[in-house]
């Protein structure tokens, strides 16, 4: 099509939008809200993921020595472990240290441990932290093979429960987002349908005077794209700007929280939302194609 024909289609699409501004605003709003919810869930899940990974990497793996292991063997093991790849730090925890730590954790109830008397049922152990979460489980396996080590434990259950929770949140969020996107799709589709009904006359006259079907379709395609695009730009803008604000305020007041830096992720998510919005508009048109054929 020639440029002025595109201009013609665009002005027809604009007339549609202006003829029913309430519906246009409703379409833009539902699109924006549903995409925003989707964006928020994407950002949330990226952050929860990051936090979980951080927690997991901070989980210490404990390798317990048998009672018969000599201090020399233990310090040799410590030196060896420190040389392994994937190990961030390693330290030796003697049974005495372990007991006093336990007492500390019991706090006011620490006196119950007095009943032990001078007996200490605990064992010497190595406390090892991994440099990355993926290193944790191979590290545990390798520690198990050290001489003198009888048991290795790390809080895998805690971490896996956390991950289960995150997965649950993600499924619910994604489901909600998809439902909202479907809702937005229906509203856009409805706006286009009403546009078709309002312009029955134009459409039949266009066909009568020999307009090609693509010329009949394009104003409505553009209408859908405009609705989807505006809605998604709003959602993308709010999520990008909003996440930047949340991030910088969190950096000030909750510096220990390892949030994902906004520069790549918020921008990428904003881009995804815009693409989704345009797709929504196109699909919204596609769904009303049959209605258009019946005019």
């Amino acid at each position: 099509m020639k440029l002025r024909t595109w201009a013609f289609c665009l002005s027809e699409a604009n007339q549609n939008l202006l003829r029913n501004p309430v519906l246009a605003i409703a379409s833009v709003t539902t699109t924006a809200v549903s995409l925003l919810v989707l964006g928020v869930f994407l950002l949330l899940s990226a952050n929860v993921n990051q936090i979980a990974n951080t927690i997991e990497s901070q989980v210490a793996v404990r390798a317990f020595f048998s009672q018969s292991t000599t201090p020399a063997q233990e310090s040799a093991a410590l030196v060896e472990v420190r040389g392994w790849p994937g190990v961030r730090s390693a330290k030796l925890v003697t049974r005495a240290q372990a007991l006093s730590q336990l007492k500390q954790e019991f706090g006011n109830q620490g006196s119950v441990l007095n009943s032990l008397g001078s007996a200490n049922p605990l064992e010497d152990s190595l406390s090892v932290t991994a440099s990355a979460p993926k290193d944790v489980s191979p590290l545990a396996k390798r520690l198990n093979g050290l001489t003198g080590v009888v048991q290795v434990s790390y809080q895998s259950q805690v971490v896996s429960r956390l991950f289960n929770l995150i997965d649950g949140v993600r499924v619910v969020g994604l489901g909600l987002g998809i439902l909202l996107v479907l809702g937005a799709l229906l509203v856009i589709n409805n706006a286009i349908r009403l546009g078709i009904i309002a312009r029955r006359r134009e459409i039949s006259i266009m066909r009568l005077v020999g307009a090609t079907e693509s010329l009949v379709h394009w104003p409505f395609i553009l209408e859908g794209l405009i609705l989807g695009l505006i809605g998604s730009l709003v959602a993308a803008g709010v999520s990008w700007w909003g996440y930047g604000a949340v991030y910088s305020s969190a950096a000030r007041s909750l510096p220990f929280l390892p949030l994902v830096s906004p520069t790549p992720i918020a921008r990428d998510i904003a881009g995804i939302l815009v693409v989704l919005g345009v797709v929504l508009g196109a699909v919204g048109f596609r769904l009303s194609l049959r209605r258009l054929a019946r005019v």
């Binding site: 020639k2 024909t5 006359r201 134009e202 006259i205 009568l208 005077v209 020999g210």
Partner: protein
């Protein structure tokens, strides 16, 4: 130019609108299509610009088999055919000029050429001084002349008019008739379905009379005739 060979049309609701119609119209002819309501006049016209497809038989316009034409070719057929209806079918929010130009804008003609041609047809139908008005500001006769101008602006080979004077008073109907004959004189084939006996009788053109989906009479320089029951 136009030929219908053994054409029948049965609508999905079972109504047989045309039954074995044979018709030939040469280039430059003027044909009145007369007959009572429901005789099949409108259906015949609708087959010519592919608004309907024949149930059987062959419809040809300018060498094209209209009934078997591919969908994507239909627009190009319609650009060669001008159509005028009893109810004008104008766009209410647009001016006279915009309504007429609309028919050319969809064919991607250059705006300068559109302007030139719109000026020509406005002159032809005598509405040059009403060019900025919207349909609601025009009389029925003027609206129908705008519709006629829109049908003619693409320089069609054929003009189809389905009871174009049906909503007009006698004076406007006569003016309409005068313009249609002028258009025909300038070389366009015209087929006009009508009930206006007076106009037909005065024009002395070819008359094709239909009844019950069949052609009952086909005479040159004929009259509306009393045998055709209204």
């Amino acid at each position: 130019m136009i030929s219908l060979r053994n054409v029948s049309k049965v609508y999905p609701n079972g109504v047989a609108a045309l039954r074995g119609v044979e018709l030939e119209v040469s280039k430059g002819e003027f044909v009145f299509l007369v007959g009572p309501s429901g005789a099949g006049k409108s259906t015949l016209l609708r087959l010519l610009f592919r608004e309907e497809v024949p149930t059987s038989g062959v419809v040809q316009v300018n060498g094209h088999d209209v009934g078997r034409m591919r969908r994507r070719q239909i627009p190009f057929l319609r650009r060669q055919i001008g159509v005028v209806f009893q109810d004008y079918r104008l766009l209410p929010q647009r001016t006279v000029v915009e309504n007429i130009a609309f028919a050319l804008r969809v064919t991607e003609i250059h705006p300068r050429e559109i302007k030139r041609r719109v000026g020509q047809v406005l002159e032809l139908v005598g509405l040059t001084d009403r060019s900025g008005a919207v349909p609601s500001q025009l009389s029925g006769g003027e609206q129908q002349r705008v519709a006629l101008a829109r049908a003619m602006v693409g320089h069609p080979l054929v003009l189809l008019a389905d009871e174009p004077t049906g909503n007009l008073d006698p004076q406007n109907a006569q003016e309409m008739m005068r313009i249609l004959l002028e258009i025909n004189r300038l070389g366009t084939t015209v087929i006009m379905a009508t009930h206006a006996a007076q106009l037909v009788d005065r024009a002395r053109q070819r008359v094709v009379a239909m009844e019950d989906g069949q052609i009952r009479r086909d005479e040159l320089a004929a009259s509306y005739s009393e045998e055709v029951v209204r």
